[in-house]
């Protein structure tokens, strides 16, 4: 057989396989749906967890890998991060520390000329303002300037809630402060809606000069951040119970947890795919049974067993491919909807699921492969039929 006639035969077989699928539209549709449901779950969950992973990677890249974060150990049942006594000066003396800072978050009574209430006030140590872009998604002034003694900075949401602007006065815990500036939306749920001031000022307001909610340390260039983390843990032992983690290690822990979640979810989705594959196998067995006479005619007209085998395998592959295509589309929609839902429900930063070309290509190829695998045995049975017996079949 020449190369040209072989190619034409392949096209003919593909056309025949496609026509056979259309002959039983409802059955084909249900089989495609079986595969599509499994692939929707796979694409949706891989896309979603991939998006979370990418968003976290971006956050940790912004934080940098030379950072050590110190958080008070959370007592059981404590919902907000507790503020604890912390000696910031002691941290500076630990070998390998280039810079150290802290923040304190407290809810305090607020009174303006128009309203009263209770809002979160965040005190930032002076070292934190120049590094703010490392800690927060966005830290840019919309108006005014950074706070000095006797003034505060408002986040966009706080300015809107309090109906205040630069130059206005706000009373916080019975002390008047001028508003030095207003930030653009920070995209950070930890500070958005809060009033920002210097840490020593907030310490004065709460009457404690050592309270912190979070502390951080930047390692000296070239200093091993894990060694620094261990030294800090040792230095902090007499001060109480703290969680000390380098940003790199924290990233590894979170990414590791996500990998496990991703694997577990994919395994669950794979079961759905397997069920779809079994459905496809059943469809193909039915097709072989129903089309015995047709197989006999093809064989009596000169079709080889291998061509019959390829014909049924192509049909199964096409069903799988169609299921994969539908699954990729539905899975992308599922991932996008779930991402929007999660962002809305948790008030977390929105993230985009990763529906990459490689994920879609994987979905299509895997579904086609699964289809062909499920079609192997039925195709084998079709190819082994005796033409005489097949022609006798009514």
């Amino acid at each position: 057989m020449t190369e040209g006639s072989s190619f034409r035969l392949s096209i003919d077989l593909l056309g025949l396989a496609a026509r056979n699928l259309v002959r039983r539209p409802l059955r084909s549709l249900l089989t495609v749906l079986g595969i599509a449901i499994g692939m929707t779950a796979v694409v949706g969950l891989l896309g979603l967890t991939g998006g979370v992973q990418r968003a976290l990677e971006r956050q940790f890249e912004r934080l940098g890998h030379d950072l050590v974060l110190i958080l008070p150990a959370m007592p059981q049942g404590a919902a907000p991060a507790p503020a604890v006594s912390f000696d910031l000066e002691r941290i500076h003396s630990v070998p390998g520390v280039a810079q150290a800072g802290a923040l304190l978050r407290q809810t305090l009574p607020i009174v303006t000329s128009k309203m009263q209430g209770f809002l979160a006030v965040v005190g930032l140590s002076s070292e934190m303002f120049p590094l703010a872009e490392r800690f927060f998604e966005r830290f840019e002034l919309a108006a005014g300037q950074l706070p000095e003694e006797g003034s505060v900075l408002l986040t966009q949401e706080a300015a809107r809630d309090l109906k205040l602007n630069v130059g206005d006065v706000v009373s916080i815990a019975n002390r008047a402060f001028r508003i030095s500036g207003v930030l653009l939306p920070t995209g950070e749920t930890s500070i958005e809606g809060a009033i920002l001031m210097s840490l020593p000022t907030l310490w004065e307001l709460v009457g404690r000069r050592d309270l912190v909610t979070l502390a951080w340390v930047v390692a000296q260039p070239g200093y091993d951040v894990e060694v620094l983390s261990a030294s800090l843990q040792e230095a902090l032992r007499p001060m109480g119970s703290f969680n000390v983690q380098s940003s790199r290690r924290l990233n590894q822990i979170i990414q590791g947890g996500l990998e496990v979640l991703r694997a577990a979810l994919t395994a669950i989705a794979a079961v759905a795919l397997l069920v779809g594959g079994l459905g496809l196998m059943n469809t193909m067995y039915m097709a072989v049974l129903e089309r015995r006479r047709e197989i006999g005619i093809l064989m009596s007209l000169g079709a080889r067993r291998s061509q019959i085998w390829v014909l049924f395998l192509l049909e199964a592959g096409l069903l799988g491919l169609l299921g994969g295509g539908v699954g990729a589309i539905l899975g992308s929609a599922l991932a996008l909807s779930l991402a929007a839902l999660i962002a809305q429900a948790s008030e977390a930063q929105p993230f985009t699921p990763t529906i990459s070309f490689s994920l879609v290509a994987f979905a299509l190829l895997f579904s086609m492969g699964l289809g062909m695998l499920a079609g192997l045995l039925p195709a084998h049975r079709a190819a082994r039929l005796s033409p005489v017996e097949a022609l006798r079949y009514e």
Binding site: G77, T107, M115, Q116, F118, A120, G193, A194
Partner: protein, 217 residues
């Protein structure tokens, strides 16, 4: 296979592990507990159960440094409703009081006053009505609204007494279609004028109310 008559109901009294779970969520409560004997009984109504859940909470001194805490959680419901229903009541109450706005109100309960409006974290607002009495406790009634959940509102009674483990009255409401049964007030009736400001119809999703309170120093 056993066939359960449609009317078969089961009564469940839970303590032990469930009580521990409740305690784990109330770490701050014991930090500020002034000592002495406290007994509080709450009635919880949720959309998951037809009958109310009765939650009792008792704290008594065991020795100079120790307290004995007894909690029970009692509900009568169909078997199939019990797995979700039993836990959902207390869980929903916990979720409500863990909300940042509610937590802020409870932390600053002594700074609140009647017939005022307070801005809270997240842009939430708490409009107070009058002081009333629930199960012998003096409370301040108020209406909590959150611009991020415009279809919901929470009626809340806050007491300055730190020995009550939950606010004496919580009623979570959600906007309902016109024609459905509207929520009514048995407690915190001074909130009615504030509620009438909103012409929309609301239905009750969850209600917790203090029905008994006993306190001895």
């Amino acid at each position: 296979m056993a066939h359960w008559p449609a009317g078969l109901k089961a009564t469940v009294v839970l303590g032990g592990a469930f009580g521990l779970w409740v305690l784990a969520q109330t770490g701050d409560y014991f930090q500020t507990y002034p000592g002495g004997f406290t007994r509080a009984v709450y009635q919880i109504m949720t959309s998951d159960l037809r009958n109310p859940i009765v939650l009792s909470w008792q704290v008594e001194p065991a020795s100079q440094e120790m307290l004995t805490v007894t909690t029970t959680n009692q509900v009568t419901a169909r078997r199939e409703d019990l797995p979700i229903g039993v836990t959902s009541g207390v869980a929903q109450a916990q979720l409500i009081i863990q909300d940042e706005a509610v937590r802020t109100l409870l932390e600053n309960r002594k700074s609140l006053g009647p017939h005022l409006s307070f801005i809270l974290p997240g842009g939430a607002r708490f409009d107070t009505a009058a002081r009333e009495t629930i199960a012998g406790l003096s409370v301040l009634c108020g209406l909590l609204t959150d611009p991020k959940k415009p279809q919901r509102r929470t009626l809340l009674a806050i007491t300055e007494d730190p020995t009550a483990p939950f606010p004496p009255f919580i009623q979570l409401e959600e906007e309902k279609a016109l024609g459905s049964q509207a929520s009514s007030l048995e407690l915190c009736t001074s909130l009615q004028p504030l509620m009438d400001r909103d012409a929309r119809r609301f239905g009750v999703l969850f209600q917790l109310k203090l029905i008994e309170f006993e306190r001895r120093d």
